[in-house]
Amino acid sequence: MITAANVTKHFGEVTAVNDISVTIRSGEVFGLIGTNGAGKSTFLRMASGVLKPDSGKILMDEQPVYENPSVKADIFYIPDDQYFLPNATPRDMAGFYQDYYASFDSVRFDEMLGNFQLKPDRRIHTFSKGMKKQLSVLLGICANTKYLFCDETFDGLDPVMRQAVKSIFAGELSERDFTPVIASHNLRELEDICDYVGILHQGGILMQKDLEEMKLNIHNVQCVFQNAEEEKTALGLLELVKAEKRGSLNNITVRGSEKEIMEKINTFSPVFAEIVPLTLEEIFISETEVVGYDIKKLIF
C-alpha cells in the first residue's frame, strides 16, 4: 500500500504538488488523471523516490521511499521521457536492470521481446517512440516489482499494443502481488483497467474514488417540468454540478445515484425525464469545470 500524506513540492516559485493525500491499495490499479501541469509526473517522481517532497510523507508499505534502496527495489518507474543508456540494445538494458532488480526475469523478457517483435540486438536509439514505450513496459513487467508506475506510457502505444499491454497487466494482477499506477490522458482506456481513480488539478487532488462508485454517483439528466415553479423546487432538491437550459429542456449534471435522483424528479411528475451515467471523460470535464478549468474559457 502506498500512502501519501500532505505531500507538497515546490520548484522555485512554482508549487507543483500542493498538499496531496492519497492512498493506493495493493492489488488494485490506480489511475492518475489530471489537467496538464497538474503535478501527475511530479507526484510519481516523488512516489518512486526520485524527488524528495518539501513537506509531507510518502510511505510504501509503511516505509519511507526516498533514499531507501530496499523499498525502491519494489518499484519500477516508467517516466514519460524514458532513459536508455547511450547506444544500448534491449538486451543491454535487461542486463542493466538485472543488476538492480533481483527478481528480473530475463527468460520471460527474451520471450516477450519475440512476441512483440522487438529485436534484442537492435540499438534502441533507432527505435520509434512507440517501440521505446513497448520496451519500457516489457522491462517494467519483467522486473517483477510490486509497484509499476506508468507515466503516460499507454498514450504512445497503438490500439493493438494497448490491448496487449492491458491484457498482460490483467495476467500479472491475477497471478502475483502487483499494483500498477497509471497516469494517462486516455480516459476511455483507463475505464477498462482501473479500480480507483484520482483526479489532479493545479497541484491538488480534486477527488479520489473507486471508479464504479464515481460513475454511479454522477449523472446527466435531461428533463422538462410542467411549470417553472415545479422546476425551481425540483432543481433545488438536487445536488447540481452544472445546469443548462434550452427552451423548456433542462440539461443538468447531478450528484447521486440513479434511483435517488429519479425518485426526487418523479415526485414532480415531469413531462419528460431521462437519466444517463457519465463516462470517466465527462466526469473529468465536469469536475475540473467546477474548479474553473472551463473549456469555454479556452476556446472563446
Binding site: 492489488g27 488494485e28 490499479v29 490491448q163 496487449a164 492491458k166 491484457s167 498482460i168 490483467a170 495476467g171 494482477l173 491475477s174 497471478e175 476511455r188 475505464e191 477498462d192 483497467i193 482501473c194 479500480d195 464504479e212 460513475k215 454511479l216 444517463v276 451515467p277 457519465l278 463516462t279
Partner: protein, 135 residues
C-alpha cells in the same frame, strides 16, 4: 464469447453480468458447465481481473453460478433464476403497457402491437437464419 460495448454507459461489470445471464437463461451455457477463469477472461477482454471477479460475485449472489474452491465457477441449475428473470421482464412490460395506455393506445390495440413486436424480434429472426444455414 463476451463482447464489451464501450459505447454502453453502464459499468463494464454490469455488461458482463447481463451477458452471462442471457447465455445461461437461453441455455447456451448448460448447468454445471464451467465458467471461464477470472484470469483468462480478464486477459481475453484486457480488463481488470477485479472487474470480472465482481461480476462473478454478483452472478453467484443471484444464483446463476456456484463456486468450488480451487476448481473455479460453474453454471447453476437455473430454474429459480429463470423464474426471477421472468418476473423482472413482466415488471418491465408492465411499465411499457402503462406508458402505452397513457399515450392513448387502447387495451384492444395492445395485443396487435405485441404480435408485431414478436414478428420483428431480431432474436427470432437471427435464430431463423441460423437454422436456415444449418439445413
Amino acid at each position: 464469447m463476451i463482447l464489451i460495448d464501450h459505447k454502453d454507459r453502464r459499468p463494464i461489470y454490469e455488461q458482463i453480468i447481463e451477458r452471462f445471464q442471457q447465455m445461461i437463461l437461453c441455455g447456451a451455457m448448460q448447468p454445471n458447465a464451467s465458467m471461464p477463469s477470472v484470469r483468462s477472461l480478464a486477459m481475453e477482454l484486457s480488463l481488470n481481473p477485479n472487474t470480472i471477479q465482481r461480476a462473478y460475485q454478483e452472478l453467484e449472489r443471484a444464483g446463476y453460478i456456484y463456486t468450488i474452491k480451487g476448481k473455479g465457477s460453474f453454471v447453476s441449475d437455473t430454474a429459480a433464476a429463470a423464474a426471477h428473470k421472468r418476473q423482472e421482464i413482466q415488471r418491465e412490460m408492465q411499465v411499457t403497457v402503462d406508458k402505452a395506455l397513457l399515450s392513448g393506445i387502447t387495451a384492444e390495440e395492445l395485443p396487435e402491437i405485441l404480435t408485431a413486436c414478436i414478428q420483428n424480434s431480431s432474436v427470432l429472426i437471427n435464430r431463423g437464419s441460423m437454422k436456415g444455414e444449418l439445413t
